[in-house]
Amino acid sequence: MSRTSVFAREQLRAPFTLALLVAIPALFVISAAGVLSDFATALGGSLAGDAAVALSAGWAAAFISGALGFFQAASSRGADRRLVLAGLGPARVASSRIAASVLLAFVAAGTAFVALILRVGVAHPLHAAVAVLAFALLYLAVGVLLGSVISAPLEGSLLVIFVFLLDAFSGPGMSGSPPPWSVSQKAADVLIAAGSGVGSPTGDWIKLALVTITALVAAFCVFVAAARSRA
């Protein structure tokens, strides 16, 4: 029995969490595309049609993964640190905890992608699937990072939502000029392109991979720093 599977099982034993993993992405994709288009128009963006639906799948996966990442890291922090002090070490606990969260992010991204495919035909389904997964992993990293340093559920979840809203309403398609620090900019570029029936160039894929890996590494490092022994 690996630590990762134990930690994943810990989350899956919460039936409400499972229901949210499936329901939120599906409902978001079904209901949010029109709202996203309206906001984009109001903010000076160009998001509309199938591209808006595609982007809604990314945001759906991002939202639920960010929340899961935060609560996984924050709610189990005391017991995780005890395990670290028992001799497992912060790196191994961090990798198991993040790997378990990644498994759940795959479920969220998978649900969002299936909802997207059922709602509209996507010309580049593989591109869309990878971009939705990247959204999920980016926000998983945001959630784990915040959950590693903030244990209060209200403050932490509000911060995750704050990052999410800032990113969502200033990102590609939503505003005329997305800020360079936008967490999901590259994922959104690829997803909007896939939703519009256009493939993305290799450069975009490389940037997306770099941003996603950097985010996960940052989350890992912050988790390790927060959990290490102070003796």
């Binding site: 029995m1 002090l85 102070r230």
Partner: protein
Amino acid sequence: MASTLVTNAPVLAADGITKAFSSGPPWRRRRIEVLRGASLEVRPGELVGLVGENGSGKSTLMQVIVGLLARDAGTLSRPDRLGYCPQEPLLWDKLTVAEHFELFAAAYRLDDRTAEASRDGLLAELGYRKYLHYRVEQLSGGTRQKLNLSLALLHEPQLLLLDEPYSGFDWETYLRFWEMAEHRRADGMGILVVSHLLAERERLTRIYELRDGRCEAL
């Protein structure tokens, strides 16, 4: 108090430990000095008590010794093989008792046979074997505390640190706890018990009182 012939070097030596916390907004920062040079030691085969009023810093000192909190100053010497039983059980609500044992056995690097023998012994000693496959969220407070204590003892540590270990225990389990502690002390384990009230003084080798951030031997 119990007398024990001890000739070995201390398994725990804390000397001049200081720890302060800051609170409040930056323009009204308050610095609270909790530990102001606390010193104590525990030798193999000693069962040592640490008492003090609520808020005197007992749990802070324990967390500094364990490594959960960084000390501001002072020196600390402790073995790698230590067991820590925190005041509030630090457990995963959705995992079973068996899964907790497996995770901690891996952390302590116990082989399967040793881990199983140790686990079964602790389940029998504390009388909660029937809960092995229950999730923590399904356990009573007392049974959680038994698991909390068992995880600290699973690898037979050289130094056992117990922070209010018997809160939630019924009378029978409370007595069994002291028997367990005495057996392990007799086997050479060094034990530090933190409590705001120690009724079992005759069982202890020595008692420290934490007052004004310093430990005084009583």
